[in-house]
Structures are given as structure tokens and as C-alpha cells.
Symmetry: C2
């Protein structure tokens, strides 16, 4: 694969996706500056990267615009992954998404402008589609009708997308990629419902409480497939020249599973058979979408395709969690 940059600046470098991306960038000959405030990132995830001569780790917060700008010197690509990625707890601290996802993205874009970095990949979310009105709207394409936001998290990411495209259309970026992810699974997974289910089953294998009616249908993507997709898109455009405007790609698999099925898989993998209690209701929490399923025809048309099914990704996730229980100490 073509090297996608000389030096990439990765925010959220010590996170679930970030740390895998850093490893892959280094492996393909790209120097990397990793940026993380370690609020949820894990230094252990960067254990390999930290032994690599082309890796520089900078500990910093994206809300510190001055430090961010200084750290970005010399980069020719920014991958902006750092975010508060918590839909469920949004209402417990309503300013957090706005600051960490919207204002922080503005800081990244301004730092890029100051440093003359003109290529960005921005991690957005399938949640920006809100809750499409009818099932016919799934799988949801990138051109879906203008959506109503259903969570502070998605609203803050939508705002980030708007900023990225305004900077691109304003002539301050040569390439801008917005990736709308489904939930990711895989090694280093450390936040989300599989994490919660696994942790609670370790504590009590006889009983599991599931938020909502358990029929929520969700799509997932294996983290290495996600990193592949990012690098694939960046390399394709690098090779054939920059696109005209902001490019938006959905990232996901062509399948979905319901929460009860994923709970069943986790239980089988762990060899437990708990009594399942569902709290009822279509949604597990405010802003939970009963059906997330993205149309990935656009990214598939570039030649990328995921290698793992949702079930395979789920299995690897549970296996990784099982062998890395230290993560439960770190993520309270």
C-alpha cells in the first residue's frame, strides 16, 4: 500500500481505533505524532508504537489550542479521532460533547490552518443520521434526508462534520474525509455494550440486565477493517489526486444483529447461561437508535471490503476482553 503521508498527526492515538491506526501507519512507513490526553486512552495500547523510532507521543488535550498547534508542526496529514464517545451519558454533562467534539474539532482545524496541514480524516458517527423515519431508510446512505439529531454526541459530531466541510469548501483543506462509523469491535475494545455485558457477566454469570427490549438492531465493524478502510480511502485519493470537496463515507458491514443475539454469543463464548432481564422499551437509553444499519456501497465501490463478519468480530472482542481483564481496572 502507498504510504498515505510523510508524518501523520493522530489525535486520540492511545484509544481503541487510534492505537491500531498508529501501528498500521508506522508499519507502512509513515512517521506518526500521537496526541492523547489519556482520559480514556491507554499507554499499554501504544506499547509497540513506543518502541518505534518514527513514533512520537505527545500528551496533550485538544482544548489546549496552543499546545496542539505546536505539536502538529511537520505533519502532512491529520487523523482526528479524539472524542468523547458516550451517547448514553451525554445528559450527565451536557457541555462535554460540545467542548470535546465540536470545539476540539475547531481547534484541530485552526491548528492545521496555522501549520499549513491540508489533509484531514475525521471520525464521525452513524449516529448523525438520528433515527430515520422508516425502515426503508436502512441501510442508510450518505445522502440520507437531512436528519434530526437524537443525542448530544451525534449533534456534536454533526457540528464537527460541518466545520470540516466548511474549512474544505473555504479553501483551507485540500482533502477532507469524513467517516461515519457504526460501532467498532475488536482487540483493545474498551467502551460499549459488549464491554459492559462482559464485565457484568464476570461479576455475576447468573444474571444479566439488558437496557431496552433487547431487540435493538445494530451494525458493527471490526476495528482492523475500519483502519483498512481509512487507509484505503486515503491511499486511493493520494494516488489519483485530491477529490474536489469533502468526501463522506459510511463504514460498516452489510449486516446487523440484535442485542439479544450478541448477548447470546457473548454468553456462549464465556460458557455462561444467565437469566436475561430486559428493561423494556424500543430504546435502551435516550438517544439510542432501535435500528442502526448503514449503506456502505460508496466505500465498497472503492474496492474495500470488511474481512470479518459481526459474529467473528464479536468473538475476537470477547476473547480479547477475557485475556485483558486489566482493562476493567482502568476503565471504571
Amino acid at each position: 500500500m502507498t504510504a498515505v503521508a510523510s508524518r501523520a498527526f493522530v489525535t486520540g492515538a492511545a484509544g481503541f481505533i487510534g492505537s491500531h491506526l498508529v501501528d498500521r501507519l508506522l508499519a507502512t512507513g509513515v512517521a506518526v505524532t500521537g496526541w492523547d490526553n489519556f482520559s480514556t486512552g491507554q499507554e499499554l495500547f501504544l506499547a509497540d508504537a513506543l518502541t518505534h523510532p518514527a513514533f512520537t507521543l505527545v500528551r496533550g488535550d485538544t482544548l489546549d489550542a496552543t499546545a496542539l498547534t505546536a505539536a502538529m508542526a511537520g505533519a502532512d496529514l491529520v487523523v482526528h479521532l479524539a472524542a468523547n464517545a458516550d451517547i448514553r451519558d451525554g445528559w450527565r454533562h451536557p457541555g462535554k460533547d460540545l467542548q470535546q467534539n465540536t470545539v476540539a474539532t475547531f481547534n484541530v482545524l485552526e491548528a492545521m490552518r496555522a501549520q499549513g496541514v491540508r489533509r484531514i480524516a475525521f471520525a464521525s458517527t452513524g449516529s448523525v443520521y438520528g433515527e430515520p423515519a422508516v425502515s426503508a431508510d436502512r441501510p442508510t446512505p450518505e445522502t440520507a434526508p437531512f436528519p434530526v439529531q437524537t443525542s448530544l454526541y451525534a449533534a456534536s459530531k454533526l457540528a464537527g462534520e460541518g466545520l470540516v466541510s466548511a474549512y474544505a469548501e473555504g479553501g483551507h483543506l485540500d482533502e477532507a474525509y469524513v467517516f461515519r462509523f457504526v460501532s467498532l469491535l475488536g482487540e483493545r475494545y474498551s467502551h460499549g455494550h459488549v464491554f459492559d455485558f462482559h464485565r457484568r457477566l464476570l461479576a455475576d454469570p447468573h444474571h444479566l440486565r439488558v437496557l431496552g427490549d433487547g431487540r435493538q438492531r445494530k451494525s458493527y465493524l471490526y476495528v482492523h477493517d475500519c483502519v483498512d478502510a481509512l487507509l484505503h480511502v486515503l491511499a486511493a485519493h493520494t494516488a489519483r489526486g485530491a477529490p474536489h470537496a469533502t468526501q463522506v463515507y459510511n463504514l460498516g458491514t452489510d449486516h446487523f444483529i440484535d442485542v439479544r443475539t450478541s448477548v447470546g454469543l457473548i454468553c456462549r463464548t464465556l460458557g455462561v447461561n444467565p437469566k436475561i432481564e430486559t428493561t423494556g422499551g424500543e430504546r435502551g437509553w435516550i438517544g439510542d437508535s432501535p435500528f442502526i444499519f448503514l449503506d456502505t456501497a460508496k466505500i465498497r465501490a472503492t474496492g474495500w471490503q470488511p474481512r470479518l463478519t459481526i459474529e467473528q468480530a464479536l468473538l475476537r472482542t470477547v476473547q480479547w476482553l477475557d485475556s485483558n481483564r486489566w482493562i476493567y481496572e482502568k476503565r471504571q
Copy 2:
């Protein structure tokens, strides 16, 4: 018309739209707290309102969350109009739109939550549609495909819309109305291209420079028609019960005119015949849309319709500017 509230809290109360809205609210028996930082608002616009016993003016900045929350006490409706409404100069101060339009809207929503105010009308903009790909996308309906943002102003308003709908879907609002305006015209108009053209023709009636090729097609709405539409929607929903979710309405007329035609009208009204110099290009500035024309079928279906044509609104605007040249001293 039914009174739409007991006490309305209007941000940007001393502005072009805000001051007209305040007058109309007071006339229909609604007590009003007007909030303005007078960065562009004019106390003269509130000359009538200030003599009304049910009007309270509070001088404050929406970025001062504490003062904002205190001032909102007792309101049962918020109309959030305060904004930095300057597409053209966005890149001269890139943080301004984010702060004054996005963060400020968050402050308004949090102040409402603190004070238990559960109805909001939010002034957004037709600019959030960016630049639809083909002419077939005009007139642009509320359900247009997910747009790419082309200016910091529109991106900041899109972010505001996202916040409003997240608060509504999160159960923190009973009624949320998002109005996407075309440009407005009428008495107290004090910002925009008619303002600029008129001012420059007063200074030099023999020569006028027009940004772009002058073929940009724009739709406009008379400010009183806009205020009518807001009150009409609020009253309709008050009468028949709150809508289920965020309601988005385009506001405009069913016509558009090109810049050269509006320049011609201004010149005829002033009795001048300048040499017109166009700077060329489809767009007058970065983020300028060559064709703005909104589909207003949804708001028309509620029974509202505009009373003035674009030409009539333009004429009144020029006449008002001609009799109120003091505004040029105030707005440098």
C-alpha cells in the same frame, strides 16, 4: 391570533428581526424580556417597545451563561435570534460563528433547562443546505439530502439546529421549532447586500461594484412576513397541542431574483444609473451560494403565506434605508 406565550424571552431583541418580533408579541398580549448585547442591535429599533409596560430589556451577552439564565426566569417561550450573521467575513474571525452561534445556542438551551422553559423557536438559515448539487434540488425542501456545509456561518447554525433537536429528543423541550430563513428585507434592515449597495450608491451614484457575476439567484422574504410565519406556527401548535418532535420549516417566498435585477430595482428607486462593474465568478465570496431558493410547501400547508413579493419588500427596504441614513453611522 392566540397569544403564543405568557412571557417570551427574545435573544437578539434589538436586531432587525428581533425588534419587529418584540413589537408584535407585545401587541398580541405577550409580555417580553428582550435580551441583546447591542453588538449590532439598535436601541432605536426598540423605541416603541421601551414605552410598553410589558417589556423588559436586559443588556447581556449570550456567552455569559449565568446572566442569561437569570434573565430567563419566568419565561415560557424562548425565541433565539441572536447570532453573528455574517457569511462573507467568517474567515476573518473563524471562532466567532462557533462561539456566538453554536456555543451561545448551547447556553440558551442550558438556561432553558435550568429555568424549566420548554418551548423554543430557533432562527436558522437556508444556508445550511450548502450548495445543492443540481438545480433540480431547488426549491430545496426541508428533507433535502444531507448537505455539505460551505461556510462557517452555516456550519455554526447547523450545529445549533443539532443541539436544539438533541434537547427536544432528549426530553428537555416540549416544542422545538427550527426556521430556516432566506435573507430578509424590510424596515430596520441593516446588514446585507442591499444595505451595501445603497450605502455605496449614496457615496458614488455613478459606479457600483458587484461581487461575483451578478447572476447569483437569491430568494428573500419580507421581515413582517417572517414574523407572521413564526407566530403563526407557534400559535397553531399551541392551539392543537405540541408536535411530537423538532419541527423544521423553511421560510421564504416562492420566487427568487438575480443580483443584477435587485441592483436595477435599487437604482431605479434611487433614480441613479451607475456603471456596474462585476468582479466575475459564480460566487461573490467563499461560501456564497449561486442559487438560493427554498421549498416552502410545508409552512404554506399551515395556512401562512407571504403578503409581499420580493420586489415590494426590496422597495420598502430601499425607502426605509433612504429615510434612515443614521443607520450608516451606526453600522460601520
